[in-house]
């Protein structure tokens, strides 16, 4: 996990960096303009609700949660379900969106208590909420994993998810998305965090309730994890023994490679779920939050970084042990790399477009030319930057990844964190810079600012492809993804 010096360094730097950002989030309360302050206060309840939803959705997507080690490496050892549950809970914060939402929640107590109330009290309630939501989300996810082990269970889960999605869409269509927030516990949490009364029964009751919920979630989650892992998986759930429709026709070698890589993504349950969540969630969040145009420039970066983390940071792992056989075929090795870049680009562009369009449609204001240019350039630049970073990581730091099960990840946890920091840091910087460039109202400014980043991204991608041309580098990639 931390054998690489750069990953080791990133892991050492990340926690203090997050702490600094949390401090900055708290300190930002004092210098806010009144209109921004008002917006932050009104966004408090949706932020708490959003965190709670993410705490459930993220482990659900990951089939219960992340694993410290792949299941096939642990199968011979007596690992208790409670250990497995605690491991997945410990790894839950190693998620880009979780950290970003944590930063938002860190700022909220400072905003809510700026004009009265206690930051310590508000912070305590928020911390209890974060812990209870994360543990509760993991517990629910493990329960759903267990339910999904049978055909009936899978139908029930799919039906429930479809109903929830449909309900959310209907509410959004009717313009009553706010009702969802009002019906949730989020407004009560906001009131408790911002309370000015030290003896407020709401604060005491809610904070204690959250602590109890956290403890109960820990206990129930451990049991749910054990139950889910003990239940036999029926044959249909594996999906490996189904026949796949045969493609006919005479495609070029590149198109054939692209088709196989596309299949490798969509036939891996972890990647398929991740891609679907990426396609739906950011768009829904952007639409639900009705983000103004001036802030939309930050959205493509977040989505592109998520798409890159799906498999792009270790793109050659799609070939698995077949990489050895593939390397023995007579072809230009650049084709293999190009096929992976094409599939990665498809996923990033689709996710970014969906999120940007959903955000643009629901934006409360009409865009200026500069804002439109910033969003378009942000989408383009972040896509190119993510592809460049992913290609560099794939060539320089390959990992073996089977991606057979829903909990399998494309890289070990440490490498994932390091890649998240790189991708999120770069794209956040691009998004913020382009967002800020709309200030003067000149549409050429975002274009001019994006141009050098675009050039860097293209040059970096070309350099990585050239590095992959080196037989020694390629052989290392092939040997690592094939066997570890």
């Amino acid at each position: 996990m931390v054998r690489s010096a750069s990953i080791h360094a990133t892991l050492l730097i990340t926690p203090p960096l997050v702490l600094v950002l949390m401090y900055a989030a708290i300190a930002s309360a004092d210098g806010l303009k009144p209109e921004v302050f008002e917006a932050a206060i009104s966004a408090a309840a949706p932020a708490f609700l959003g965190f709670g939803l993410l705490a459930v959705i993220a482990p659900l997507t990951a089939g219960g949660g992340s694993e410290v080690m792949p299941a096939d490496q642990l199968v011979a050892y007596p690992v208790r379900p409670s250990t497995q549950f605690l491991a997945s809970l410990t790894l839950a914060p190693l998620n880009l969106v979780w950290v970003l939402q944590l930063l938002v929640l860190t700022a909220e107590p400072a905003y809510l208590t700026r004009d009265g109330g206690s930051l310590a009290r508000g912070g305590l309630t928020t911390a209890a909420f974060v812990i209870a939501s994360t543990a509760g989300g993991q517990a629910i996810a493990w329960f759903v994993v267990g339910v999904r082990q049978s055909r009936r269970g899978r139908l029930a889960v799919r039906g429930t998810l479809a109903a929830l999605l449909l309900g959310a869409l209907v509410l959004a269509r009717l313009g009553r998305a706010d009702d969802l927030v009002d019906l949730s516990p989020a407004p009560y949490i906001v009131r408790a965090v911002g309370t000015t009364d030290a003896a407020d029964p709401l604060w005491w009751g809610l904070t204690l309730g959250l602590v109890v919920a956290g403890v109960v979630s820990l206990l129930l989650g451990s049991r749910a994890c054990g139950w889910a892992l003990r239940r036999p998986l029926d044959a249909a759930a594996r999906g490996d023994d189904r026949n796949v429709r045969r493609r006919t026709g005479t495609a070029s070698p590149l198109r054939t490679l692209v088709a196989i890589d596309r299949g490798s993504v969509w036939r891996a349950v972890a990647l398929r779920r991740g891609a679907l969540v990426l396609a739906i969630l950011p768009g829904m969040a952007a639409a639900g939050a009705a983000v103004p145009w001036r802030s939309l420039a930050a959205l493509p970066g977040l989505v592109a970084a998520g798409a890159g983390l799906l498999f792009g940071i270790n793109a050659f792992c799609l070939d698995g042990s077949g990489a050895l056989w593939l390397a023995s075929l007579p072809h230009n090795p650049r084709l293999v790399a190009r096929a992976k870049v094409i599939v990665l680009t498809e996923i990033i562009v689709a996710a970014v477009l969906l999120a940007a369009v959903a955000g643009a449609v629901r934006a409360p204001d009409a865009p200026t030319h500069a804002e439109l240019a910033a969003v378009v350039m942000s989408a383009l630049t972040c896509t190119v930057a993510v592809i460049a970073i992913c290609l560099r990581l794939s060539v320089n730091r390959p990992h073996r990844a089977d991606l057979r099960g829903p909990r399998d990840a494309v890289a070990p946890p440490g490498a994932l964190v390091a890649a998240s920091v790189k991708l999120a840091g770069s794209t956040a910087l691009i998004g913020m810079t382009l967002g800020a460039s709309t200030g003067p109202g000149v549409w050429q400014l975002p274009v001019l600012l994006a141009a050098p980043v675009l050039a860097w991204g293209l040059l970096s991608a070309r350099a990585s492809l050239r590095r992959y041309d080196d037989p020694l580098v390629r052989a290392r990639v092939v040997q690592v993804v094939a066997a570890g």
Binding site: N243, T250, D319, L324, W325, L326
Partner: protein
């Protein structure tokens, strides 16, 4: 006449570890050679070098007169390789593997009939459109052999082709090895199953610490006496 495979002074270093230390071998057309030796003797690494997957640190490989350093793609076109570990793209079907091989090798349009015939011989017809991550170990080995012989290679490299394979699969593999030899291909088989190595090959070379330490007719390694001799060679 140029041998089908000529390897001279092959050296492969992984950092400070020398995996192959001056490997020399010449295999004539229509000849099959068993590559045997202990774990870590350098068999699979040597196979990877001969397949063009891994560039050697130094040394020379020529396949049917084509130099691997100057024309690696040309060598790959002549070689059929069954790797030791899996060797299959996990979420591609058996048919998609054959389709990809046909496209990258530029095979003529009748590749489908050849593919179907091989799948039938290796009892994989029913599994042709299943993704290979659902295959048993033996099925995977059988498909790897199919992929290696698919295009009628001039040099057939089979690394542990019998590992976990049922008797019918073993028979099918032995049959394609015989056919390859008949058509003038050189065959190199790496395996720990000495009796199958003896059955598949005419000659045997013993590897130890990355170099050939003995070579003999495979028949000399047959039976109890052959096993004792082999043990003495690798000890």
């Amino acid at each position: 006449m140029e041998p089908a495979l000529l390897a001279e002074e092959l050296v492969v270093d992984f950092g400070t570890v020398r995996a192959v230390a001056g490997f020399d071998l010449s295999v004539g057309a229509g000849t099959s050679v068993a590559l045997v030796g202990r774990n870590g003797a350098g068999k699979s690494t040597t196979m990877r070098v001969l397949a063009g997957v891994l560039p050697p640190t130094s040394g020379k490989v020529r396949v049917a007169g084509v130099d691997a350093t100057h024309d690696p793609a040309g060598v790959r076109a002549l070689v059929g390789y069954c790797p030791d570990v899996g060797g299959l793209i996990p979420r591609a079907t058996a048919w998609e593997h054959l389709q990809l091989a046909a496209r990258l090798r530029g095979m003529s349009s009748d590749w489908e009939s050849r593919a179907e015939e091989l799948l039938h011989r290796f009892d994989l017809t029913a599994a042709a459109d299943r993704i290979t991550s659902g295959f048993s170990h033996g099925m995977g080995r059988r498909l790897s052999v199919v992929l290696a012989v698919f295009h009628g290679p001039r040099l057939l490299l089979l690394d542990e082709p019998f590992d976990g394979v049922d008797p019918l699969g073993v028979d099918a593999t032995l049959e394609v090895v015989r056919e390859a030899r008949t058509t003038g291909a050189a065959v190199l088989v790496s395996t720990h199953l000495l009796h199958l190595a003896v059955e598949a090959c005419e000659e045997a070379v013993v590897l130890s610490s990355g170099r050939v330490v003995a070579a003999a007719p495979a028949s000399e390694l047959r039976g109890d006496g052959g096993r004792e001799r082999y043990r003495a060679l690798i000890a």
